[in-house]
Amino acid sequence: MAVVTGIYLIYLFIPIILLFVGSFGETWTNTLLPTGITDAWYLELWEDGSFRRAFMVSLKVVAATCTFGTLLAVPLAYALYRSASRGVMLAARIVFLLPIAAPPLVLAFGFILIFSTDALPWLGSIWLLIAGHVVLTLPYLLQTLVADMRHLRLEELELAAESLGATFRERFLDVVVPLLRHSLGSGLIMVAALSIGEFQLSNLISGFLYRPYPVVLLQAFYGSTGFACAATVILLGLALLAAAGGALAARSASKYRKNAP
């Protein structure tokens, strides 16, 4: 078991390590490892306006996706959890399966068809990009939240709050939301990681001004290996940053209610 785990970890980390090594290598052509050491690729990346802009676009898209995802997923998950209707449960199951049933590419073609018309000319806007990311990541967040609600036996806690005099709003804000902080945190980490690395949909619907980092990164692979490695290492850092940000956001949101009553 330990051997298999070890092999798996090596398989997982070798590309990351090689990317890191490659990003500091001067040249890397037809050799096992690069030759020479340089920080030139990172400097070049820093001076490249398109990468800097893409980096900021990705951060904005992740932040907005997490925010809108939370605002949509918490009440939606709650409604799904409380509903005894078979129809609603079926709808929930379809939503949960959406990422498998409709992959990003399919969704992107749909977006292109709808939002390139004169009536809805939003193709290329950052808001459409955010909307796309929300649609793609929402099922994952919903699944995490609904599973946690079942685990917490929220219904009984709500009945208790209700018997103590709490209104629906008070129950939701004082009991439901704070109790979901852990699942919201882990769900948002997943959302952030998915959003930051999303390429298929972003590549097709993002405009020239709002291209996220993975879309711009593709260009780097047409240039030198060191530059491509450095750009990818930055994406990795960005993914880690987004995940940490998502976790922090959930934690601070829960603190709002933690001191209650």
Binding site: L159, A160, L164, E170, D174, A260, P261
Partner: protein
Amino acid sequence: MSLALENVTFTYAGTSAGVFDINLYIDDGELLAVIGSSGSGKTTLLKLIAGFEVARQGRIQLDGEDITRRPVRERQLGVVFQSYALFPHMAAWQNVAYPLKIRSINPSERRRLACEALERVGLKGFEERLPQTLSGGQQQRVALARALVFQPKALLLDEPLSALDAGLRSDMRDEIRRLQREFSIATVHITHDQEEALSMADRVAVMEAGRLVQIATPLELYDRPATRSVANFVGEANLWEGVVVSADSVELPFGRLQTGLHNYANGTRVTVLVRPENIAVGHTAEDANRFTGRIVRDRFLGAVRRYDLAIENSVILGQTGTRGPIDAVSIRPEHVRLLPA
């Protein structure tokens, strides 16, 4: 404040399960225990009083006011749930202070009142602890404090001791009773544990298949059960089928039994009840009901011993403190109860 249920009927949608024609009155400061086997409708009854379900017929009155259709949060009832339902993200004092927060009591006052309530249930020093760091008994006390802190009009206890171990359960019975008396609050205590009901309640209501079959004081319920099923449910019992043969005797499958005076006509089929502790070991020539047999089952329970004495084609269940051999028993006529067959 009193609580009254008049002809309350409720069935769960799509089923015939529920409660039917319930009439109950719980006086101010009274503790009424509702007992019954699983599925008898006792929890449904609590849900109706709490407002978690709404009665299809009849009405529920709290202190003279009709609350049948009043929303849960407006009923002013303290509810202690079987699982306690403490908010896991709030400290003990925050749990207790929650109903006070809802009632817009200022923060310092609500903290003071919550800490006071915790002190009353013996949890001074545990104010900052999260529920999951407290023992079952301590969680139970927090739940009680939370249910009582806002001075509810009545208290509803849904099998509050079922999750505790035997020793703690006994302590908590006394604690709940003490608090209930201290607050002098009408209380409905749902339980499947007849010993718990008999030891705590002023009166006990027995439910069966959604109906109330008897409401009586614990003593009356034990000594004069209304039906065979109540006698069987409350305590241990010898229950035999018999036929009345005179004003003071019945014919049983294993012989004639002298009884106290009764009102059944000769020839009436009855159920004969004799509690095991009323089976006396040994007999003398003067004893009216004498039986000899052999022990086929013997259970040592510590303070008492329970045995099955086989006599002819029947068995007498007895209970005694005697440890020696038993081959004869007697039953005093005043200990023989006749119930409808």
